[in-house]
Structure formats: C-alpha cells, structure tokens
Amino acid sequence: MLSALLVMAGIAVVLGAMLGFASVRFKVKGDPLVDKIDAILPQTQCGQCGFPGCRPYAQAIAKGEAEINQCPPGGEEGIRKLADLLGKEFKPLSVEHGVEKPKQIAFIDEALCIGCTLCTQACPVDAIVGAAKQMHTIVAPLCTGCELCVSPCPVDCIAMVPVPETVETWKWKYPVVQIKVAGHA
C-alpha cells in the first residue's frame, strides 16, 4: 500500500517536473498583445469597427474598450481567433458594424474619372494612383476592399467588384463524409 502510494507520488513528481521543464524550455517569447490582435485582424483598414483602422481597434481590444465582434471583414473566423487568443466567449458579429461579405476590390471607370483626387485621400493603403485633373486607377493587388473611396467620388465612378476565383486561387472543398449510407443494408 505504502509503496504503491510512494510510486504514484514519485511518478507525479517526475511528470510534474517534466511538464515544468517543458513549459520553460518551449516557452515562446510573445509579441505584445496588441501585435497579436493586430495580426489576426484582416488589415482591410475600413473603419467599420468604429476605429480609424485595424491597429487602433486592436489597441482598443487590448485595453478592453472594444468588443471582439466588431470587424465585419474578419468575419466569424476572425472573431473565433480573437476569442481563442483572449480566452473570451465567441459571439456573433455585431450587426451594427456591418455584415460579412466576400472580398471585393474597387474599380474606377476610368472613362468617367474627373481627376479630383478625393479617392486617393480616402484610400487607407495608397492603392489608388493618379494626379490632380488626371485619370485615377486602382492598383488591384493593393486594394483591400475597404470601400472608403466609393462615397467620396463626386461622379460615382467607383464600383466594388467581387474578386473572381481563378484556377490558382481555387480551394479544394472540405471533403463531405457521407454517413447516410447505412452499411450494406
């Protein structure tokens, strides 16, 4: 009896020591919390969360001043990751901040552009090129789809277009497990 207890205790001590060692040994040096949150946010910089960009929102979350469900471009998955990171409950996207939609990018109908440069000023990531009184255009790979340039345009020549899927960007579907088949019966 006693020896069994001793053995148990011994094993527990050894395992505990191993765990402790492992946690010290494999500890990852962490980024500050704000960076970790910012890394999860999609960097669309659209301001729908109520903050002027992703980083300010990340700072607000880190300070506990904002909820984790305010970023529509990040969507459910983003909220889930934030919840994981911060050890919080998942909650659905708050509707007042917007809805999740597939990624789009802006397109300027160059025939109409009057070169007012308003869109360049609105663009948070400098994805629009052009000069005063000259035609403007979107540098598509840089556009985050934030839609901030759409409303300032006085001639309404900016439209959001969905990003089409190509053979290169196409994703294989998650395999569906058919369970309905009840054996050979």
Partner: protein, 570 residues
Amino acid sequence: MLATLFKFRGGIKPDAHKDESTRTPIAAAPLPARLVVPLRQNAGSAPLALVGPGQKVLKGERIGAPEGNFSAAVHAPTSGTVLAVEPRMLPHPSALSAPCVVIESDGEERWIERTPVDYAAESPDALRDRLRDAGIVGLGGATFPSHIKLQPGAAGRIGTLVINGAECEPWITCDDMLMRERAAGIVRGIGILRHIVSAERVLVGIEDNKPQAIAALRAAAAQAHGIEVVPVPTRYPAGGEKQLIRVLTGIEIPYGRLGTEFGVQCFNVGTAYATHRAIELGEPLVSRIVTLAGNVARPGNWEVPIGTPIDALLELAAPQAGTDRYIMGGPMMGFTLPRTDLPVTKAANCILAASPALFPPQGPEMPCIRCGACTHACPAELQPHELYWFARAKNFGKAQEYHIFDCIECGCCAYVCPSNIRLVDYYRFAKTSMRALEREKAAADAARERFEFRNVRSEREAKEKAERLAAKTAAARQAMAGGGQPAGTTPSVPAAPTTTAEAAAPLPQLDEAKRALIAAAIERARAQKEAVQPKNIDNLAPEKRAEIREIEARRAQVRELAKTPPEEPV
C-alpha cells in the same frame, strides 16, 4: 552495367490494365473543326495572347508568348482563323475558366516555316530559349517548363539525367506506345537534353511490365553512347519523379528542392520526344499522345492536336453503356472531368471512361482506426493518418509540421485505407487552404505596412503644415511688429491634397436641374470616352499590342462585373 537498383519505401501494386490499349498502334486523331487552346498549359505564369479575333494563324504559329522565364509558349495546333480569345472552362477539377484561344481550322494544316537546327552547334542557352519558345513542358502531367529544369543550379552541373518511361499508373499507356513506336526520336531527344546539361550518364527507367518498350528503347539506344535502359520493378508510384530518381540513383530529393541541386534531373520520355521534334524538326509542341481507355469499345492511343474537344476524342473510342463519368489522367491521380466538351491540354495523358464496374464506388467513410496501412503504403514516408487528423481538424500548423507539403498526392494511402477515408481529398483541402491563408497573410501584411506608412506620412505632412503656419504667423507678427510689409521669405503653401476639397463640397448644394445636367454630361463623357480607340498602337510590337488587348479585355470584363453599361470596346 548498372550495379544496383535502390528501393523506395511504400507503394502499391494495383492491376495494371495496360494490355487493352496497347493492341493497336498510335493513330492520328482527326482534326476537329474548332480547337480551344488554353493559354496557360504550364506550371508557372500564364503566357500572354499574341493573337486577336479574326486573325489568321498557321500551324505551329505562336499564339501565346511566355510571360517571364517561368512560362512556356503556346502554339496554334493547326492553321485557321482565331475566333475569339476569351475565358473558357478548363479541364481542371475546379471547373473554372481561364483565357483560351478559339481557332476555327481551315483543314489545310499549313505549317509555319520550320527551322530545324543542329543542336550540337548551338549553345545550351540558345537551346533552352528554343525549348521555351517551342512550348516544351513536362508531358508526364506536371507540365513543368522543361527549360527551367535544364538550368544549371547553384550547386553546379547535372551529372545524371533520368528519363522517365516508368508509366506506373494503371491504364495509361501513352508513354509505352511512344517508346515502342518512336524510340529513335526519344533517343535523339535524350541526346539534346544531355547536350544542354552535358550530363555524363543517362538512365532510362522503364517498369519491367513493358518488355516491348524496353527492347525498342534498348535497340535505339545501342547507337547512342552512355544511355542505359534500366528495367525497374513494377510498383506504383515508381514513375513518380522523386521515386524514379531514388530507384535509379539512390538520391532522395526532398520537397521544395530541385533535382539540379543534387546533380540529377528527370524528364518524361514524351518530353524527350517533343524536344527532338522541337529542335531537330522545328515543330513546336502542338500535339500529344493520349490514351483512351476504360469502359470503351475501342481503347487505344491517339496523337491528338492540343485543343481538341474531349468529346470528339471519345467518339473515337466509343464509350460503352454504364460509363458514369470521365477521368482525365489515371485512376490514381486523375480527376473527374466536370464536362466533356473541354479541350485536350499538354497535361492530358489519358482519358478514362469510368463505370461502377471498373471503378467500384467506395464504401462509406469510417473513422480512422490507426491501422497503419497508409503509413506502409506512403512513398513519401509520411504518416498519412496523422496528416488526415490534422487536416480534418483544420489544424494547418500541425499538418505542416508533419510535412503535408511533402505529400505527392499519389493516392496510395487512400487506396489501402480500410476505413475508406478520402485521405488525399483532405490533403488537397488543407494544402489549398494553407496556400490561400498564406496569400491572405501576405496581403494583410502588405496592407498593414502601407497603412502605417501612410499614417506616418500624413502625420509628417500635418506637422510640416503646422510648422509652416507657425512660421507664417511668426513672420506676420514680426512684420506687424516691424510695421512693414509681410516678409517675402514665407514659403508658399501648396498643401496639395486639400486643394481639391472644394470640388466635392459644392455638389450637395446643387439643385435638381443642375444635377440632371451634370448626369447628362457624365453620360456623354462616358459614351465618348468608351468609343475612343487606343491610339498610336500601330507601330507597336505584337507583344505590346497583345498586352494592350489583354488589358482592354480585362477592363471590359471588370466593367461587366461592376454592372456599368456593357459597351465593350472592340
């Protein structure tokens, strides 16, 4: 003589089914009335279209120019007229579309001027360029541009060339028949490849279930020096590039590294043959051998012009009742074709008519019982059940840790799994998702950087402006204090971004009538500008013109997407 063969671990031995389609010689497939040639038929970047609708093309004329070095040209498979350059559905599991050149054949098969060259007199660089411009890509199915593989690596020379005639997948016999019938051409092609990299050794690996091919190639290689034809044990996937290199040389090339780094490179026999045609006959790659097999009345091999619709081919083979789908490629790695009116591409080595009798549907998927059968079968020496576990749980980090990208998607694991798990589908899902995530992350990082840069810049601008303002006030005050004129030293304030603010401001205050006027003006401008043709393009090189055309096409497409009036420029 070669001393020893090496072994690769894992592998399976499915029924070969090679006899059915090797009873008749390779026949030329009839020329279809219309061909659809996808521009992108190579791994790497898609070529740019060189032709436009209405243009006449000759057989072998370039219709797509390689875009950058990691690309290969595309050619008209016959003479005729270009009907359109537009997105068409590709033979790809995604069933997505990509730009294709549609050619109406004139039935004359008129070639461009062919310029055969003597390869011995050419420099390796010139030959590589020729291969790129002749559209030579790996014909085993991977369509990796061949000239890239022939580049000497940082580690130096390619001492050993491995020529892949293993053709390990069941049912496929296009390489087998090619070796039987055109061994001389293959050996000449091998000679060119060897010349380019100045390899000392050439090993041709052929599975030992193809005695005729081995004999034919041995006979043809007898004249050439230093080409050894080596029968390798029949075991799928002995024809996997890495597996064959391992069997013949003992070298293992890990994922993400090139054979060149290890002094060895591998080419398919079909590629060697195409190389011979491209260099010594001046004929670019415009056709390939395709095996038609499975549930068909007349299985066989056909030489098919690239771009031929698959249903036209199927007529030749006469699919039988019970066929429920068609597979492009073999039964181990091929995919179910979304439709059959899709074109034959350089990757299409086989079209299989599948029936439930030949390829019985799998039983229902059960949980993994960790039986280890998959581990035994995996030629990449992975732990497929662990990968499955992580992929299924979308634990991509772990999947990567367990080397999911080393998986060659050979399908051995799923073949042996008693639980009927579609393992490879899970890996494909995980791999493509991970690549998408990586792209997203790169984009997000770039956006973050640009956003931060922009913030810094606007801060700086604001500060500069404030300073200027302060300087100005100070100067004014000074002037006032001095009782004289304003100081001439005040810097002018351009404040570029703010000047146009007034353009937007007045708009809301306009009344209805004016707004209508503006709208009408906008409409006019739109109509006018869209009618305008691009100017000064007559003297441009065809490549440039093609580029312009492509951009215009893209614009038109995007405009359509944006649902603005669909007035396409020509």
